[in-house]
Amino acid sequence: MKNSWTKTKFIMLMSVLTMFLAGCGENHLSTLKPAGEVGRQQFNLMVISIVIMILVIVVVTVAFSIAVFKSRRSQLGEDFKPKQVAGNHTLEVIWTSIPIVLLIILAIPTVYFTFQQGDTTEMVNAKGEANEDVTIINVTAHQYWWEFEYEHEGVVTSQDLVVPTGEKVFFNLKGADVKHSFWIPAAGGKLDTNVDGVNSFFLVFDDDKAQDADRLFYGKCAELCGPSHALMDFKVNALEKDDYEQWLADMKQIEEPIQADAGDAKEGQDIFNNSCIGCHAVTPTGAGAVGPNLTNFGDRELVAGILEHNKENLVDWIKDPESIKPGNKMTGKYQLNDEEIEKVAEYLMTLKVDEGTGDKSKLRESKDEEGGDK
């Protein structure tokens, strides 16, 4: 039995390796398909540690298997008297010092990357203000949705995060109600959104990796935050710098809510303005609102972060949010009949930002005018 078990161990080990190399998960979601510098460094550190650890497992397994195999009483006989050995100093020194050496090999890159990835000094300029030369996004985690505010441009959006590729993207993270954790597995590790203060870090999205993932990475909440913790997903739209800035400019130019043309959508807008606007803004400003910003709702990838983006799902969501995201803060905040909900949904689906209409050159200057807003 022991023998076959040893074989099983070996087969298991091989399958571990094979699976590690082959089964790397989805491009948009897996830590094993790193999409940028940060994720790649972490992945490399994983590989270093896995190699060392597999070495350890192999040594232990081999020594252990030999020990078991050689020492079976069924082979040695009932009368065999094992030699009583108290210990061996040389051996103790060997199996104390070799692990120390292995750990030092692992410790050096660990410390190096810990400091490198913890370095957010670029975020502030010499005057101690937010550095205009880097992309900074302020993330606020709510039960159970995400708000993203673009520091320099003053643009506010929610649920769908848009980032530029090929550069460091800095994030300021905080939690609005309870602690959450901001995690884009493909781009890099997570950082908690504490309620006590702001945490900062950066991630990098490579353009070719973004293309591999259809420019859409998955983000998740990684800290238990209530019943719908599992449903607190978000999407990361990684665009080339130009497209990213164009998107920002498109958003930026919306100073008045997008007007619905006529019919149901128009009626829906009136209902929305009576019942919903208290929590949901439809202009890309006003960070810290009670509910997600809906300026570009029509362009979103998903309804409520988890449902396919179509009107039926949106209607279901507005009718009974509790059945879709238990414990959410929207349930019971409004009184709408089915007909009204249909119209509001119709209106929300029309909230699309016209692509390419914004003026990129105005991105920063308007920020200066509004200066005091933030």
Binding site: V68, G87, V111, A186, D233
Partner: protein, 642 residues
């Protein structure tokens, strides 16, 4: 304690005996039964979790209920199953291993077990009284403050009661092992299980106070309007995380060190070889216990403590691998060149080595802080700590159950069923948790009540759930084994495994209630093996037979614990509807009777303590004649057996 020999006592008398007992051997049985019950409960919760996660978008459990189930699974398994079951073995074995007649404080021993029992019942009654706690077993402050209803209060008060019991037991074992060793049982002759118990008990003494403080602050915040963790009022939630993990990490070693001890005994016994590198093993045990207090922040790498703190704790964490490695290699060296008999306990012990090593190496991987930013709070972590706690602690509990069963009950579990159980459990365990490493790396966070289709998680989760079912089957086989063995009730004699090496195997089975008629004299390490080798196989006496002083049974520990149990309800409901409590509690309807329940409960406790303090209880003596008669009877029985 006038034990009537040979006569069958009525059920009432047996029950009363157990409710009042101060005998470590009977307290061990209470720990075993209560811990076993909670283990089954935690196991059922685990099955519910895996059933819910077997397929995507499942609605078998609702989101809120799922969070209650995971919270109770973790809390129950750690506080109410693993630790009490280890206490069962410590109680059953340690006094016998060191040649003591009981623990240092038998009364406190009884108090400890009843506090644990009542704390556990209190916590689990939350299921029927408005909902269980739902903020995870770590109960992080921002979420636990926001959690509506009394669930978290049940967690806080229940853990406070059970935790007091654990702390008392910890103090008891430290004192016992330091002061009650038989002549000749020097520190460096103590069996490894005694050593690991000593170190674990010291860890309890230092680790539980931070938990007590943290839980008190949480109670005050939720029920009495303080602001320790309420950020708007100047509180700080990170402090909870520190307090919890300053307790929580040593707690891991409180669990694993006694497990190491049990395995050390088993390896040595069933290899017929003394432990290789005994002093290195002892040194490693102490070192692990010491390092255990310096690594708590590796649970908090993603909290944002900054690179300096993360780097320091990363290095400290890696350092723990060294003494752990020493232990693994010394175990291998112990079986190397031995004569291995594949009994059920030995199979568990052998399976433990590769399983635990796999859990250990993922621990080192997590010590690399930047990589841990990826692992943290993902299924990788779930896989890791189950590899360590199931592959280490639970394997040890099952191994220890089979190994020490004769000492505890006087019978022997079926080896055939035991081996079947072990194989199924082993396969089920790896099937459940191995695949979870990948789930984590593929981006699946832990503590999610469901996952969406199309993320590549489906197959892996199904495999994991099937494995969990296998483990459940193994536990059912164990239960059948236990019931069959108890019904058959075939008594075994001294040293039933035939290869016992340490003092506890030298005693007659069933062990007399005073343990040792003669105080034993210990002449070296592995006392019994030594006497088998060099003497006549019996432990020499340190002196002539003398009258033995014994403590009286007492119902007071039960009453003290019961009073706290009652007071717990009073305290908990007292806050309902009170304006000073947090919103989640202040919104509940007011309970005017709560104050009286609180007062009544505290009255029961304090009056019981008063009775204990002012009424002298000097114990009694077992007369020399009774001991001599017992010895003669034993001798006759052994001659008869030969």
């Amino acid at each position: 304690m006038a034990q009537v020999k040979g006569k069958k006592a009525g059920f009432g008398a047996v029950l009363w005996d157990y409710l009042t007992t101060v005998d470590h051997k009977k307290i061990a049985i209470i720990y075993l039964v209560a811990g076993g019950f909670f283990f089954a409960l935690g196991g059922i919760e685990a099955m519910l979790i895996r059933a819910q996660l077997a397929v995507p978008n499942n609605d078998f459990l609702s989101a809120g209920l799922f969070n209650e189930v995971i919270t109770m699974h973790g809390t129950t398994m750690i506080f109410l199953a693993a630790m009490p079951l280890l206490f069962a073995f410590m109680n059953a074995v340690v006094p016998l291993q060191i040649g003591a007649r009981d623990v240092a404080f038998p009364f406190l021993n009884s108090l400890g077990v009843w506090l644990f029992v009542f704390g556990g019942i209190f916590l689990n009654l939350s299921w029927f009284l408005g909902g269980a706690p739902d903020a995870g077993w770590t109960s992080y402050a921002s979420l636990s403050i926001a959690s509506p209803g009394h669930g978290i209060d049940f967690y806080a008060v229940g853990l406070q009661i059970a935790g007091a019991g654990t702390l008392i037991s910890g103090i008891n074992f430290v004192t016992t092992i330091i002061t009650m060793r038989a002549p000749g049982m020097t520190y460096m002759r103590m069996p490894l299980f005694t050593w690991t118990t000593l170190v674990a008990a010291i860890l309890i003494v230092f680790a539980f106070p931070p938990l007590t403080i943290g839980v008190f602050l949480l109670m005050f915040d939720r029920m009495f309007g303080s602001n320790f963790f309420i950020v708007e009022a100047g509180g700080n939630t990170i402090i909870w995380e520190h307090l919890f993990w300053i307790f929580g990490h040593p707690e891991v070693y409180v669990l694993i060190l006694p497990a190491f001890g049990i395995f050390s005994e088993i390896f040595s016994t069933f290899s017929r070889k003394r432990l290789f590198g005994y002093s290195a093993m002892v040194f490693a045990t102490v070192l692990i216990g010491f390092f255990g207090f310096m690594v708590w922040a590796h649970h908090m790498f993603t909290v944002g403590l900054g690179p300096t703190a993360n780097a320091i704790f990363a290095l400290a964490t890696m350092a723990i691998a060294v003494p752990t490695g020493i232990k693994i290699f010394n175990w291998i060296a112990t079986i190397w060149g031995g004569s291995i008999e594949f009994t059920t306990p030995m199979l568990y012990a052998l399976a433990f080595i590769p399983s635990f090593v796999m859990g250990g190496v993922t621990g080192i991987m997590q010590a690399a802080a930047p990589a841990d930013y990826q692992y943290h709070d993902s299924y990788f972590i779930v896989a890791h700590f189950h590899y360590v706690i199931v592959g280490g602690v639970v394997f040890a509990l099952l191994a220890g159950l089979h190994f020490y069963w004769p000492i505890i009950t006087g019978t022997m579990l079926s080896e055939k069923l035991g081996k079947i159980e072990m194989v199924i459990f082993f396969i089920g365990f790896h099937c459940t948790f191995l695949i979870q490493h990948w789930l984590g790396l593929w981006g699946m966070p832990r503590r999610v009540f469901t996952y969406l289709d199309g993320q590549g998680y489906n197959t892996a989760n199904m495999i994991s759930s099937i494995g969990a079912a296998l483990m459940a089957i193994a536990v059912i086989i164990l239960l059948i084994n236990i019931i069959k063995t108890l019904v058959k009730n075939e008594k075994v004699g001294t040293d039933p495994w035939g290869d016992g090496r340490t003092l506890e195997w030298s005693l007659p089975i069933p062990t007399p209630y005073y343990n040792f008629a003669n105080t034993p004299l210990i002449r070296g390490i592995d006392a019994l093996a030594l006497e088998k080798e060099e003497g006549d196989g019996t432990i020499p006496a340190a002196g002539p037979v003398e009258a033995i002083h014994m403590p009286n049974n007492s119902f007071i520990p039960f009453m003290i614990s019961f009073g706290l149990f009652v007071a717990g309800f009073g305290a908990l409901y007292f806050a309902s509807g009170k304006p000073w409590a947090i919103d989640a509690v202040a919104n509940l309807p007011e309970k005017p009777w709560a104050l009286y329940v609180l007062i009544a409960g505290l009255a029961i406790t304090f009056i019981s303590m008063g009775v204990r303090s002012w009424k002298d209880d000097l114990g009694y003596y077992i007369p020399k004649e009774e001991l001599e008669a017992d010895l003669r009877e034993l001798e006759a029985r052994e001659r008869g057996a030969k």
